[in-house]
């Protein structure tokens, strides 16, 4: 259930590293549309999500706690201080080219920051924002 069919198919069909940010965005958007007919990914909703303070975790209240307000810039891990390469594919072409990697980090970071898995709609919105800016 947490791994919808579309994504499973994508994971099975492609070798690690073979995906594109656009392809991932389309997969998430198609899945969201299958639940909410007419769904369109929105960079503005993605920006809002990225900057929102969920307040579930004291040390990492928001995505921006580590990825910084501008995802085209390098971030810094809120606890360990380690540099994190930019999350936006327009600044870092290695991003979102491996569906399994993206899913692993969505799983971890949504769990810690949002307190639950992110929905396909939230991921599609976020990817549009990261690809295009707000």
């Amino acid at each position: 259930m947490k791994h919808p069919l579309a994504l499973l198919a994508l994971l099975a069909a492609t070798a690690a590293g073979a995906e594109t940010p656009r392809g991932l965005l389309d997969t998430y958007a198609a899945e969201a549309a299958s639940r909410t007919p007419g769904f369109q990914a929105s960079a503005r909703r993605g920006a809002d999500f990225f900057g929102r303070r969920f307040g579930v975790s004291e040390k990492m209240p928001a995505c921006v706690s580590c990825h910084t307000e501008d995802p085209a810039q390098a971030g810094r891990h809120a606890i360990t201080g380690k540099d994190i390469k930019p999350l936006a594919p327009r600044a870092n072409p290695a991003r979102f080219t491996d569906a399994a990697k993206a899913e692993k980090w969505f799983g971890r970071n949504c769990g810690e920051v949002v307190g639950r898995p992110c929905s396909a709609a939230e991921k599609a919105d976020l990817l549009r924002f990261l690809a295009e800016g707000a």
């Binding site: 975790s57 891990h77 606890i79 360990t80 201080g81 380690k82 971890r108 769990g111 810690e112």
Partner: protein
């Protein structure tokens, strides 16, 4: 003195990694170690924590020092075996605490006794586990005093 010791070690046929300021990842490190355990912090030198402590770290990855580092079982086993193989001497790296921290061991504390305590909280450092803040060549396994990044720490060495 240090150089002399080094020459001795070399003459004795010991690998360079036996020096305390050279701690490169062992050659048999699985790629997953740097990829998975080097994403949120440095992929720490396995020799700086005892094998039993590495096992404790690997047993609780889903609740990992206030973060979630959970891995699939296969990857976790490969990494766990590697860390257990290269874990350090349990007496030397005693007192890692719970959860185990290589930065808490008696050895680490001794090596870092000259670091003034406010520096650990300095904005440039943030955490003792942020090795690269002071050792910019840490990813290459280089911890020599000449490589220390913070100027106030470099000058302290000159008397």
């Amino acid at each position: 003195m240090k150089t002399a010791l080094c020459a001795l070690l070399l003459a004795a046929g010991l690998p360079l990694s036996a020096r305390a300021d050279r701690l490169p990842l062992p050659a048999d490190a699985p790629p997953a170690y740097a990829a998975e355990c080097g994403s949120c912090h440095l992929a720490f030198p396995p020799a700086l924590l005892a094998a039993a402590d590495w096992r404790r770290v690997m047993a609780g990855l889903d609740r990992h020092y206030g973060d979630n580092a959970a891995l699939d079982a296969d990857t976790a086993r490969v990494i766990g075996d590697f860390l257990a193989r290269h874990g350090g001497n349990a007496d030397r790296y005693a007192n890692a605490g719970t959860p185990p921290r290589l930065t808490a061991t008696a050895w680490f504390q001794r090596k870092h006794r000259k670091v003034p305590s406010p520096l650990w909280q300095d904005a440039r450092v943030r955490s003792a586990a942020n090795c690269s803040a002071c050792h910019p060549q840490a990813e290459q396994g280089r911890y020599g005093e000449r490589d220390i990044a913070l100027p106030e720490l470099r000058h302290r060495r000159e008397h």
